[in-house]
Symmetry: C2
Subunit: 643 residues, 2 copies
C-alpha cells in the first residue's frame, strides 16, 4: 500500500459550485466573478496552503489563484470570467510547505523570546532552503544570503517577512493533493444573461415582407430578441378552430404548433409567410436593426407531417399499430402526434432533431425557444444541446419549462441557457422576494437563468385580467428589472386584458388560432409603448440591470411596496428600484439602503436620480421616504450619483 | 449510441442519506429506522414507480421496499435495521410500468365518461397482459380472466382495483433505472449508541487487584463502560511533576500519556498495576458485573519507549537526524516524541498500530478511547478502523476529537463509532438547543454519535468550577438524557470543583500527575452518587433514552428552563425532561407538549410520573406548568402513562 498516495493527509470537501457532483457545468456570462469555496483541512497544527487551479478552454495551460483561508477551515478564491463561448475548468491544489511552516514556527518562538538552538530551531530552515535551491535552480544567490543570515543567528522580523515573501514565490509543495474532480464553467454569450424578448405571430402581419416594418416598431420599443412561434406548414387533420375549438371552419388557420403538412415539416416555411429567401431577408433586416430572431423548436407533428409517412416508426403506437394522438387522459389532442424518443430507431430521430437545429443555424438562427421541453426526455436535451454547443457555442436555448420545480431545474442543469419561470404567477411582495432569492441567491444561480415573461400567447395571468395600464406597467417593470432577461408577447403594449372566461388564463380570441390586427396608435390611453421604450433604454444604459445574480432586496415596511437594488461588480453603477404593487392606489413607505455595502457615508448627503422622469433627490442616511401612486407614477428607478 | 442505456428517461437525484457522495457509510444501531429519500422524476405525465433495494450483508440477496411519492417529486422509504454488526447496502430502482399507466388512464377516462374505443383504449391493456403472462408464467388463468373482461368492455371500478393490485404483484418494469451508486449502512452494536462511561485512574487504587472493589461501586452507580487512561509503562525522560510541572521529583509518577520505558511500550502493562494476567482477571471481574473495560489508545511515545531504539525511522527528525519532541510553537513537550505517520517506513508503523489494537482485542478489550485522533492523519483512522472492523465488527472507537468542527466530523465519517463533543462548553438554553439540533437532526445524525462527557481529567469546565452539587446534578442529567451515550470522570460524584487557577480549565492537583485517594462516603452533602444511580436506572428502564436521534425540544418560555422529549420508535415509551439551568434558584415555566405527534387527545386528562421522585400528575392539553428549584429539585424526568 502506497500510504502517501492512498491516504494523503489533506482533505478537500464541500466544494462549491459543483452541480450534481460535477455531472453538469456551472453556467455564467462574461465578466462574472465566480466564488469557489471548499473546506480544506489536515490533522495537527501544520499550516496548509491551497490554490484554485483553472484553465480557459480545453487546451490552454493551468493557471493558479491562491485561496484564502476564512473561518472554520473554509477556503475561498474568486475566478473572473474573461473569455466567452468557452469552458473554464477548475480544481483545487493543496499542500504543506515545510519551509513556510518553519518560518511561522520560528516567528512564534522569537515572539515568545524562546532560547533559539541551532540544531533544534535553525538547521531545518537551512536544509529546506537547499531543497528550494534544488527545485528552483536560478535562486542560488538569494538562498545563500538567507542561509548565511540564519547560520549567524541574525533572525529578526524583517528577515521573517522576506522569507515569507520568498516562500510565496518558491513554495515547497509537500503532500500535494488535488481535488478529486475537474469541474467546468460554460460561458455563454451576453444574450444568455441580458435580453429583452418580443414575441409576435408573423402571420398576423401577412408575411415576412410585411413583418419588416414591425421590426422597426420593436426596435423602437428597445427589444433585442424577436421570438416567432412556429413558422412551419400547419396540419389540416383535426385542425383547431377559433378559441381552441375542436371543430374548425374552412377559413380557420390552425395552431402553428400543429407542425407539418404536404408542404413540409420542421425544416419548411409556411407558404403564406414566404419562402426561405424571404425568411433570410427578414433575419438580415432584423440584424441591421440590432435585433436577433429566435424561432420556436416544437418537437411534435401534425398527422399530416411528412415524418408520419416517412418514419412511422418514430411515433407512439397503439398495440394494433396505429399511431397514437397526444393525450393527457381523459383529454386527447387530435391535431398532434407526439414523437416516441425511445423507439427502436430512436437514434435516427435524435439525429434528425439535431439536423433541424443545425438547418436553422445555417439559415441564421442562433436562439431557439423550446416548446414544452419537459414532455421530451430530459437527457435528450442534455445530448442535443451539448452536441450543438460543441460546434456552435453561441447558440442559446430557452426552455419553456412550465413544469414542477425539479424537472425545471434539471433542464437548466442539462444545458438550457435560459428558462421560463414562475414569475408570471408571483404577485405579492413575499412571493416575489422568496422566489427571486431562490433564483438568484441559492445554488440555482450557478445553472438557471430565468427569463421573466409577463405574458405569453398561452397565459394572460389573473393579475392582468381586466387590469389597468398601471398594473401592466407594474408587472412590466418588475420583469425587466428583477431579471436581466425578460419577455413580452405582443398585445401587452396595448394592455390587452380579456380572458377566455372566468377562471381561465387564456386570451379570448387567442392569436394561436386566428389572425390579430392591432393598431398600435389607436388607444393612446391604453398604449404603454413609450413606457416600455423608456425601461429598455434604462436597461441598456445601466450595467447593473444587465446582471442576473446581483439582486438584493431592501428593507421596507409597506406590503404593497417592493424595493430592491442592483449594482455592477465594481459598485460603479447602483440602481434602486421601488415599485407600487397596488399600482392603482397611493402607497407610502420608507426604504432602507445598505450604504456600507456601497461605501456611502451615512452622514453625508448623496444624490439620486429617477431615470423614469429625471427627477432628482438629495438623500442622507439609510432610510428614505417613498410615495407612489400619484399621477400614474407606479415606480422609481433611482440611480445613485456617486460623485 | 445506445439511447435507452445512455440517456434513460428517469432521473434520480439528491439521495439522502449519502455521506460525501457515498465515500463513507451511514452508521446506526439495531432497531433504528433509516428514512431514505430521493428526488425521482421523468418527462411527460407517465407515472413512475420506485423501490428501495437493500441487502443485509455483502452476500445476501437484494430485497425491495416500495417507495412512496411525497410532494414535489420527492420519494421516500423507511428501512428498519434488524441485524447488527453487518453492513446494509442500499440503492434505488425505478421504472415505468405501461400496464399500470394504462389502468390509471383508463380509470380517468371512465370517470370522465369518455366513449371507450376498443383499439384506442382497451387493446393495449390486453397486450400488456400478454407481456405479463410471458414474464410471470404461472399467472395465466388470472390473466385470461382479466383479458376476457376487458375484451367484453366489462370495465368497472372493481376491475380497476383488482388490476391495480395485480400490477403491484406483477409489475412490468420498462425503462428500469438504478441509482448510480450502492450505498452502505454500517450497523454497530448497542454500546455504540447507548453507553454510560466511567473513567478512573487504576493506579490511584494501587493496582488492578485493588480496582475490583471499585468495579462494584461503579456498577452500583449504574455505569456500563469503565474507561482507563493508558495502563502502560511511563517514560522517565523529562517526566512531568505534579500540576504538569516540567521539573519532577523522584517520587513523582508521571503522566500515563507519556507511554513507554524499558519495561515496554503500547503492548505492555505498567508493572505497578500488575501483569497481563491481573489485567485479564480485572476484565473478567468487570464482565461478571456487566461492565465492559475500555482502554486508551494514545499514539505517541516517551523518549524511553522501545520503538525509539527499535524504529528510530518512525519518528520526526530534525535535519541533523535527531528525533524531534512534540511541539506547538512556542511550546515544546519534552516528555513526548510524536510518530511520523508518513515516514519512509510508514507502512510498518501503520501495521504496528493495527497490531497494538489487535493485541488488546485478543486480551479482551473491545472499546478503545482514542487520544487526540485529530493530531494523526485523518485517513490513517479510516484505514485502521476499517481494517479492524472488517475482522472485529463489534470493536468500538471513541474519538477524543476536541478540535475544529470539520475535522471532528471527518473523523466520525471515517469510522469512529462515537466522538467527544462540545457539550462540555454548551451551557445556555440557546447553545444547547442549537448544538443538539445540529448533532441529532442535521445530516450529522447519520455518522456522528456524540458521547457527552461532563468532565475529563483535562477539563473542569468553567460552569463546574466552585459550583454547587445542584449544578453538578444539572449538568449530569443534561448529558445523560440529551445523548444516549455520556461519560464522567471520577471525582465528579464528589462534586470536585477546584480549578488549577483563574481562567484555567484544568483541575488543581490533577490526577494526571499524582495519585488521588477519594473517600466516597465522606462528604454526604457533596456526594451525588445516589442521584447518578437513579438517572442510570431510568436510562436502563426507558427505551426512549437509549436512542440518539429521537430528541425533540419543547417550547418553553423561561430562558433558564430547558425542556425536551424522547420517545421510542413506536411511541410506547415517552419521556419528557425538564431541567433548571439555574439549578440553585427557583424557576417557573409553562412547557408545550406535541400531543398530536404522540396521538394524545388534547381534551382528555393524561397522567405523567416523575421518575426521579415517583410523584404523579394529571395533565390536560398541550401546556403544563412547571416549577423547579425547591428542595434541591433540579429536574423532572416525566414518563407519560399511555393507558
Amino acid at each position: 500500500m502506497n500510504i502517501k498516495e492512498n491516504f494523503p493527509p489533506i482533505i478537500i470537501e464541500n466544494l462549491t459550485p459543483e452541480i450534481n457532483n460535477g455531472e453538469f457545468p456551472v453556467k455564467c456570462g462574461l465578466g462574472e466573478i465566480i466564488k469557489i469555496e471548499a473546506d480544506i483541512f489536515c490533522h495537527g497544527h501544520e499550516l496548509i496552503q491551497a490554490n484554485l487551479l483553472y484553465k480557459e478552454g480545453h487546451d490552454s495551460d493551468w493557471k493558479s489563484i491562491p485561496m484564502q483561508e476564512l473561518v472554520n477551515n473554509s477556503w475561498s478564491a474568486e475566478l473572473e470570467i474573461k473569455k466567452e463561448l468557452i469552458s473554464y475548468f477548475y480544481t483545487i491544489e493543496t499542500w504543506i510547505d515545510p519551509f513556510y511552516n518553519w518560518i511561522n514556527d520560528l516567528e512564534k518562538k522569537i515572539k515568545a523570546k524562546v532560547q533559539i538552538d541551532y540544531f533544534e530551531d535553525l538547521f531545518d530552515g537551512i536544509k529546506f532552503l537547499d531543497e528550494i535551491a534544488f527545485s528552483y535552480a536560478e535562486q542560488m544567490s538569494q538562498i545563500s544570503f538567507f542561509q548565511n543570515y540564519i547560520k549567524d543567528f541574525k533572525i529578526n522580523f524583517e528577515l521573517i517577512k522576506d522569507l515569507k515573501n520568498f516562500t510565496k514565490k518558491f513554495p515547497l509543495k509537500h503532500f500535494k493533493t488535488y481535488y478529486n474532480k475537474i469541474l467546468e464553467i460554460k460561458v455563454h454569450r451576453k444574450a444568455g444573461d441580458f435580453s429583452a424578448w418580443y414575441e409576435f405571430f408573423p402571420r398576423s402581419q401577412g408575411n415576412f415582407r410585411n413583418c419588416i416594418s414591425e421590426l422597426n416598431r420593436i426596435k423602437e420599443m428597445g427589444f433585442d430578441v424577436v421570438y416567432l412561434p412556429p413558422i412551419h406548414p400547419i396540419g389540416e387533420t383535426n385542425k383547431k378552430g377559433k378559441n381552441n375549438s375542436l371543430i374548425s371552419e374552412k377559413l380557420d388557420i390552425g395552431s402553428p404548433w400543429a407542425i407539418g403538412n404536404v408542404d413540409g415539416g420542421h425544416k419548411a416555411i409556411h407558404p403564406l409567410l414566404g419562402n426561405i429567401h424571404d425568411f433570410k431577408d427578414f433575419i438580415r433586416e432584423a440584424k441591421i436593426r440590432g435585433l436577433e430572431i429566435a424561432i420556436d423548436f416544437a418537437l411534435q407533428c401534425s398527422p399530416d407531417h411528412p415524418y408520419v409517412k416517412e418514419h412511422p416508426e418514430w411515433f407512439n403506437k397503439n398495440a394494433n399499430g396505429k399511431i397514437k394522438f397526444a393525450e393527457n387522459p381523459p383529454k386527447k389532442y387530435q391535431d398532434i402526434y407526439p414523437l416516441d424518443f425511445y423507439n427502436d430507431s430512436a437514434e435516427e430521430l435524435w439525429q434528425e432533431c439535431k439536423n433541424i437545429v443545425e438547418y436553422w443555424i445555417k439559415v441564421g438562427i442562433k436562439i431557439f425557444r423550446v416548446d414544452n421541453p419537459h414532455t421530451k426526455p430530459l437527457r435528450f436535451w442534455y445530448w442535443l444541446i451539448n452536441e450543438i454547443n460543441q460546434i456552435y457555442p453561441d447558440v442559446i436555448f430557452l426552455a419553456e419549462a412550465f413544469t414542477m420545480p425539479k424537472p425545471m431545474k434539471y433542464l437548466a442543469k442539462a444545458g438550457f441557457t435560459q428558462s421560463y419561470t414562475y414569475f408570471t404567477w408571483r404577485n405579492t411582495k413575499k412571493e416575489i422576494i422568496e422566489y427571486l432569492e431562490e433564483l438568484t441567491q441559492s445554488d440555482m444561480k450557478y445553472y438557471f437563468r430565468g427569463n421573466f415573461f409577463v405574458n405569453t400567447p398561452d397565459i394572460l395571468p389573473y393579475i392582468l385580467q381586466n387590469a389597468s395600464p398601471n398594473i401592466f406597467k407594474m408587472r412590466f417593470v418588475l420583469a425587466a428589472t428583477l431579471s436581466s432577461s425578460y419577455g413580452m408577447y405582443s398585445g401587452y403594449e396595448l394592455c390587452e386584458n380579456i380572458p377566455l372566461g372566468e377562471g381561465k388564463e387564456e386570451y379570448l380570441d387567442s392569436e394561436k388560432y386566428e389572425l390579430k390586427h392591432r393598431d398600435y396608435s389607436f388607444f393612446p390611453d391604453k398604449n404603454i409603448m413609450s413606457f416600455i421604450s423608456r425601461i429598455n433604454i434604462i436597461r441598456q444604459t445601466n450595467k447593473a440591470l444587465q446582471l442576473y445574480t446581483n439582486l438584493i432586496f431592501l428593507n421596507s415596511y409597506n406590503e404593497n411596496i417592493i424595493a430592491y437594488a442592483k449594482a455592477d461588480l465594481k459598485n460603479e453603477n447602483i440602481i434602486i428600484i421601488v415599485i407600487n404593487l397596488q399600482a392603482d392606489s397611493i402607497q407610502e413607505d420608507h426604504i432602507e439602503l445598505p450604504l456600507d455595502k456601497w461605501n456611502i457615508n451615512e452622514n453625508i448627503e448623496y444624490k439620486v436620480k429617477d431615470l423614469l422622469d429625471n427627477s432628482e433627490y438629495s438623500w442622507k442616511g439609510r432610510f428614505n421616504y417613498i410615495k407612489l401612486g400619484e399621477n400614474g407614477k407606479i415606480a422609481h428607478i433611482f440611480k445613485i450619483n456617486l460623485n
